[in-house]
Each structure stands twice: as C-alpha cells, then as structure tokens.
Symmetry: C2
Subunit: 340 residues, 2 copies
C-alpha cells in the first residue's frame, strides 16, 4: 500500500509457493495475491493442502497473512505484509456435494474456478470438445457461492458454461487469468462475447503475461500492453486487472500432474502445442512477480493515466473483493442474494 | 440351473440386500443377479460398501456367492447357490482417476453404468437438460472397461452420451434396466435409435417391470409382454433380457438419497412425477423377485417359444457375461482389445 492507499493485486498465481516466491511478490510491490490451492484435488486432499497453507502462514508470518475480504486485505497490507486470498482452480474439491461449498468457504476459500481442464460435475472446460453449459448441480454451486460470497472464476471454463454462469450468477463473476482470444486465439483465452457480458454484469478480467496465452511465446511489453488496451476498449477500464498466472518452482513431473491429473494414461498438452510441450520462458518484462513494476511502467508508456493505472493494477480487483467477498456473517442460509 | 442347464438372470436389482431379498431371489428361480453396489458413492465410500458385501457373502454363503464371469456364474449355480455379479450404477467410484477402473475391477466389479442421474466426469445422465456426449475422460474409461472386461451399462445415461459410448466401445455394451421409450415415453427409457445401435453392436437390453418405466404406474402382464415383443421386433430376440430394477427394502430417507445424493438442497424427483413422488407399487405380476416365474409364463402366453424364452430370461445375458467379462488374467495393460 503506497502513499495513495493504493493496493496492487495479482489476481492469480499458481506457483509452488515458498519463501522465495513470497519475497519475489513483495519485491514486486504486490500487496495482495490470489493464490491457487487446488488444481485437481478432491475434498479430502484439499484439507491436506489447506493444512500446508496453515503451516506456511505460520512459518512466514513476517511476510504474508491470509485475507478473506477487502477489509482484511487492507488490514494485512497496512501491517506491512502481503495479503493472500486462497482459491481453487477447480470445483473438484466440492466433488458432487453442494454442502462442501460452504465448508470450504468456512475454511477461507474465496474464489473458485468452476472447472479446470476437463468436464466436471459443474460444467465443461475450455478444452472439452463439446460444452453443454452449466449443469443443474453447477447452477446450485453458483447459487451457493453467491449466497456465501465466494467469487466465481471462469478462467479455464468453456465458452457456453462461461456464458451460462454469467447469466446465472446474481453477483459479478471473474476471469482471474486469461487474455482476449481476439488478440491471441487460444482455447484458454476468452471470446469478446464472454468478456463483454462479464463486464456488463460488473465482472473483472485478469490479463496474463503467461506465454501460452500470448500467442504461444513470450512477447514484448508493447505487444502485451496493446492487448490490455484492447481489453479496456472492449470491457471498460473498470473491468480489467492483472492475473499473471505466475507458476514458478514446479518440475516436469508436476507439469504432467497439472496437465492430466489422474484422468489420462496418455500425454495431455493442456495449453501447450506439440512443438513446445514444456514450461515456456516468461517474457522479459515479467520473469518473476518481482518485475510487476515493469507492467505498471508499460501501462503508463502505453498512455494510461494515473487513475487508469491504479484501477488496472489493483483497484478493480479491490472493488470486486469489497463487493463480492461478503463476510460469512452477512449470508443467509438457503437464500440466494439478489445482489451484493 | 434347471435340467437344460439354463441359467435365469435378473440383470439389475438395486434393493437393500438382506437374507430376505436373497430368499426371494431363490424362490423366484433366479440363478444370477447383477446387484448394485454404488449409486452416488465416491471411491473411499465404495470400499466400505464392498466391505459390507464381503461380510454379506460370508454370512449368507449357503445362499449366494460372488461371480466375475460366465464360468464362475455356472460354477456357483451348479453348487446350488445364487451367483451375484457386482456392479455400479455410477462412475462416481472412479472419480476423475482412470486407474480406479482397474482397481475396482480387481475388487470384483464387472458392470458400471457411466452416469447415474447427473452430469459426471464421464458424460451426461438422461435427466441433464443438455447432453454433450461422452467426455474425453469418458472415452478413456470406456477403453479401460473394454480392456479389462467390465461391461458398460447405459441405463440412466443420456441419449447422446449413450450413442457415443456405443460407438466408442470396442465390445458390446448393455442397458441393464430400461424399456423402449417408444412404448412408454420417459427420460429413463431408451430411444429406438439407441436400442437399434446397441443391438447392432451385440449388446443386450434388460427390460423392467419398474412402474416408473411402464407409463408411471404398474401395468398388467399382457401390456408388459407386449413391450417385450416390441423390443424383440426392434432389436432381435438375441438382444433382449430382463433387468427388473427391483429396489425393495429402502425407506423414504434412502429414496431421497437415491434421487439427489449430495448435489441438491431442493427436492429432486428422479423418475417420479410431482403427483406421485414416493415409491410406486410394483405390478401384480412382479411384486417381488419371487414372482419371476410369472414373467416367464407371461412370455410364453405372449407366444414366445421355448428357445426364445430361454434367451429372454437369461441366455442373452449369459452370452454377454461369457463374452464381455474376460478374466483379468487375459487382459493386457494399456492395450485396448479389439473384441472379446
């Protein structure tokens, strides 16, 4: 938090979190990071991961602290630490059990992506050849997330399931880490229709320097900020933020897990192409989260003014966190809240 | 097994199995029953259910024994006992883990319905408003079942997912408990297209006296055997058997579990209608499995000859069990067998 009480947010990091990662985050001036807990895990294994996060918060309590809403983020940052909002990149932790949405809310989860890279009980991923939209269970899950104050994340979610979720959700939804497909076509990037409708309902897109999402390789900062300008033109400057998708510290074995979990005996490329299957290099302007200031400078160089940059580097995410992460005590069981 | 070495098969019962149920089965002259282990359970809970079956097999070893293929069925029946083939009514036990197909095969499971009543990782149920077909994971699951010798069951499966699975499977697939929708329209009953294609690929349909599948109420034996005649005309007499869907001994609380598992906080009707939400009465000709001979007599009265009746009451299922339940020792890991 700087002199203007501005809070810088990275809306998605999926690294192998260690002290080194948190030091990079702090070095980059990032005040708040949404950190991925779950990729493919079921409920039971998620408990282990949350246990590991509990230990990590204790071990690095000079650097980081968990935060569950806008005020808690501000309090952590005011104390000189990085606020960590925990989230899922998959509804796998909910299994087929609607009650588990509230259970994991109670454990501090504040963002859940509806699918990772396959069809699950909730809907279709962006890689499934056919997408029949949000399922009946998926509709109930979105209703529970609305009731509790857990943000819906559509980053890896299929086109039709995404549109259904935007329609279904009574509160703004997010895409924490993806780029406009009109700029860089890729199953993981998002159509103009999804982005427009998301913005019309108050949502925010987190744009990413992740090379698979920028045309299959690292790009120059000018290309990347041109993409930001495209998103801002399309969605409005109140609806774009940063979600780096930083995923550092994983080895090749973990990469295979990330791509195919337990669901396949043959190679799955995920976002990659047959010619470039491994981890891609990060762009020169964002080798690690420590380089976050380079993104901010790039936005200024592109011509965004101070107020716009403030929104893009964190203000819009803070608005969503303030509006969407209603404390649990405000929620009324079994009633879908009409709005935030 | 009678003097003609004929084996009578009920291809699906989903009761609360107790000694009383097994006595009814024996009283009805049923030699072999495919018994449902799983409705909604995950892998871990399935282990508990299999543990309970192990205890049940020990406790009632004068009456029943497990069987994993045609020869084991014949051996059990030759010893004067009822052969029990264990199966799943849901791929939920496989979760999103392809390795679990073989694990549950090793534990004796020989039939798995791809979905129960919602979308899962494998495909869409007959009740999901949209059906995008067999998923990528679902295709792998069918491949594993083919490799191992575990029968694919499409009874509660959606139309498009069913057609995809018939296309995808290298071995004949089954519908253990459903009726032709052309006779009794209902989401759980099957279109002529599915039934024709299933038969063309060597599969078998088990027709059911279950009242929800016979127009929403119990019918007379003559109406029911007319439906059998329709199925035989459509599919051929080699492709129709009996799968009663007998589901006795459950209370109302269990009925709610059967219909909505953990996935909903509001009432789910399953196969029922708002006007008749509870368990429906069974038809006069099949109050319990002890009345199985009434079905056989009805088929004779309808005009089926001895050879045809033999096929309908068990011969066709035994052909599928002989062809489809290849012993595990014959299977070759990672190779999809082209045929049985």
């Amino acid at each position: 938090m700087d002199a203007n009480n501005r809070i810088v947010v990275d809306a998605l990091q999926s690294s192998n979190f260690t002290r080194e990662r948190f030091l990079e985050i702090r070095a980059g001036g990032i005040d708040c990071v949404h950190a991925t807990v779950v990729i493919w895990e079921d409920a039971r294994t998620t408990l282990d991961l949350l246990g590991a996060w509990n230990r990590m918060f204790r071990e690095h309590d000079d650097l980081i602290a968990p935060a569950r809403n806008g005020q808690e983020i501000r309090d952590v940052v005011a104390g000189g630490r990085v606020a960590v909002v925990l989230g899922f990149q998959n509804a796998s932790s909910f299994e087929d059990d609607l009650d588990l949405v509230e259970v994991f809310f109670d454990l501090g989860i504040r963002v859940a992506q509806l699918t990772y890279n396959i069809q699950n009980h909730v809907g279709a991923s962006c890689y499934e050849p056919e997408d029949a939209g949000l399922t009946r269970f998926g509709g109930y899950v979105v209703g529970e997330m609305n009731r509790l104050g857990m943000l819906v994340d559509l980053s890896h979610v299929g086109e039709r399931t995404s549109l259904d979720a935007i329609d279904r959700s009574a509160r703004p939804v997010t895409i924490t880490h993806a780029n406009p497909a009109a700029v860089w076509p890729h199953p993981r990037n998002k159509s103009d229709e999804v982005l427009r409708k998301l913005a019309a309902r108050g949502g925010v897109l987190g744009v990413a320097p992740y090379a698979h999402l920028t045309g299959g390789g690292p790009v120059a900062i000018e290309e990347w900020t041109s993409m930001v300008a495209y998103a801002v033109d399309l969605m409005g400057v109140d609806h774009v933020g940063i979600g780096s998708d930083a995923s550092h510290g994983w080895d090749e074995e973990k990469l295979q897990w990330i791509r195919k979990g337990r669901w396949s005996h043959v190679t799955q490329l995920g976002p990659a192409s047959p010619d470039a299957q491994g981890w891609l290099p990060w762009p020169d302007f964002f080798k690690t989260p420590a380089m976050f200031p380079t993104i901010e400078q790039g936005l200024r160089d592109r011509g965004f003014d101070d107020a716009e940059v403030d929104k893009l580097v964190g203000g819009n995410w803070m608005r969503i966190f303030d509006e969407g992460l209603t404390p649990h005590s405000d929620s009324r069981p079994s009633v879908v809240r009409a709005s935030a």
